[in-house]
Amino acid sequence: MKVLVPIKRVIDYNVKVRVKPDNSNVDLANTKMAINPFCEIAVEEAIRLKEAGVASEVIVVSIGDKSCQEQLRTGLALGADRAIQIDTDESLDSLNIAKLLQKIVEEEQPQLVILGKQAIDSDNNQTGQMLAALTGMPQGTFASKVVVDDDKVNVTREVDGGLQTLALNLPAIVTTDLRLNEPRYASLPNIMKAKRKPLDVKPASEFGLNLSARTKLLSVTPPATRQAGIVVESIDELVEKLKNEAKVIS
């Protein structure tokens, strides 16, 4: 079966983001970019399914300008078979991303679509669920375990109270949580090989969709900073402060 993995290019998770002085957005100029960590887990899961003989082909897809080809090549170096870039200079809302992905799902007919549960830039946690709704597929979000069993996939999900396991009819959508797997590093020979793997570029305008903005970003500000407090010398002093100064214990 075919597995489709949509991935996003985001700021490297080790880089602390800065807000632009005019509060129009964050400043990503000259910032190190990387594949979104949750998306990397999604790629890894798809490749493991291929290695286990469950998946026959792994396709990575990303939406953005030419720069996201870098992340697609990373996906190919990790073991994906081919890549699709949906080319656009616009920063699209999640719903529009999901609509473009729906078109790719219709073209490619994957049995499983694995996405990261959220991107670490916009923190929306919605594209996978939206794609599931648009394609009419069932969804297993925040997955910590994925087991394909014939025409079903069992997904164990990280939920507030612990873990929940669902059985979904294929084709289905899975979004990854942190504990699903630990992604591998791409080896140098695989990075070289990835350069020769197919990467299709499709202009977003080709899909005949209305991709007009659904939201308007009015401002971006730094968060309120917390003042560092004091260092106490002893547990006695700590307990005294909590009781009499902060008054949070009695």
């Binding site: 602390k16 983001v17 807000v19 964050v26 999640s94 719903l95 529009n96 549960k117 959220q118 670490i120 923190d123 929306n124 946690n125 919605q126 996978g128 669920q129 939206m130 709704a133 009419g136 069932p138 969804q139 979000t141 925040f142 910590s144 999900r157 990280e158 939920v159 507030d160 109270g161 612990g162 873990l163 929940q164 396991t165 669902l166 059985a167 979904l168 289905a172 942190l178 903005a213 659904r214 939201t215 308007k216 009015l218 401002s219 971006v220 968060p223 917390r226 560092a228 004091i230 260092v231 106490v232 002893s234 547990i235 006695d236 700590l238 307990v239 909590l242 902060a246 949070v248 214990i249």
Partner: protein, 308 residues
């Protein structure tokens, strides 16, 4: 304007977080309807009718909603949506799961995890793990919103309103519930506790989390953990506090052996008072702590327990 708020519950208890989502709905302004979708959930309905500030409770008590599967609940909410301009759910795992599905079915984008309401169409939400705060205007006619509860104070529960049963039974038929592995604990829920004590990588193993239990018992605290401690297998995933785990804002947060990665801080920096216990004086956690103590946690914890 009318607003539909989805009640977060487990068929027996209405979660306290719902009261905060109702507060967010009040900040938008309008007639508020609370939807209880579940199965054999009368006790939730009873609690829901006492929530202040709401006009009525809609009750969809049906086997199709027993596990609140996203496929089924999203069909239900979409069916009800025509009567409302705003649809709100709590940004916990249930709401995060089905709400974007509702948004897509209604052809709108979702405004996720709002922490403040500027106006009926403009909302404030953290991005980049809370390292930036965005003010976003929704251009869609209908607003589908999830609410981060640390931004709002719970409404009271001494009200009285009517519960109206609806007969909707939406079964998409493409997913089923297999099993739950829920953590059973006598302690308060992480999201609702007024005191939280969390352990990090410095705890060294799961066994050492027992050192937190005595203190938690004395303070009536919930026990949390950093991602490092969960990833290392010390404790279960549902204890993770942080950007991708639980977001908490208790009166008192005690971070033990937690260095203070930005992803962890994003989950607890709105706590009223933060205490850090760490043997590394350079640990970033001390930059957000009101009270820090540089000490070996294996000495500090037993002493703290004995002195509370």
């Amino acid at each position: 304007m009318s607003i539909l708020v989805y009640a977060e519950h487990d068929n027996s208890t209405l979660k306290n977080e719902t009261l905060k989502t109702v507060a967010a709905a009040q900040a938008i302004g309008g007639d508020i309807t609370l939807l209880v979708a579940g199965f054999q959930c009368q006790s939730v309905v009873d609690a829901a009718t006492k929530v202040n500030g709401i006009k009525q409770v809609l009750v969809a008590d049906n086997a199709a909603f027993e596990h609140q599967l996203a496929e089924n609940v999203s069909l239900l909410v979409t069916e009800l949506a025509s009567d409302y301009q705003h649809i709100l759910a709590t940004a916990l795992t249930t709401g995060k799961n089905f709400m974007p599905r509702v948004a897509a079915l209604l052809d709108v984008t979702q405004i996720s995890d709002i922490i403040a309401v500027e106006s009926a169409d403009t909302f404030v939400r953290p991005i980049y793990a809370g390292n930036a705060i965005a003010t976003v205007q929704s251009l869609d006619e209908k607003k589908v919103i999830t609410v981060r509860t640390t931004g709002f104070d719970a409404v009271a529960t001494d009200g009285q309103c009517e519960a109206v049963a609806i007969s909707n039974s939406n079964d998409a038929g493409n997913s089923s519930h297999v099993s739950d592995e829920l953590t059973v604990s006598e302690r308060p829920d992480l999201g609702a506790a007024s005191v939280v004590i969390s352990g990090g990588r410095g705890m060294q193993n799961g066994e050492n989390f027992k050192l937190l239990e005595g203190i938690a018992d004395k303070l009536g605290a919930a026990i949390g953990a950093s991602r490092a401690a969960v990833d290392a297998g010390f404790v279960a995933n549902d204890m993770q506090v942080g950007q991708t785990g639980k977001i908490v804002a208790p009166d008192l947060y005690i971070a033990v052996g937690i260095s203070g990665a930005i992803q962890h801080l994003a989950g607890m920096k709105d706590s009223k008072v933060i205490v850090a216990i760490n043997k590394d004086p350079e640990a970033p956690i001390f930059q957000v702590a009101d009270y820090g103590i540089v000490a070996d946690l294996f000495d500090a914890l037993p002493e703290l327990e004995s002195k509370l």
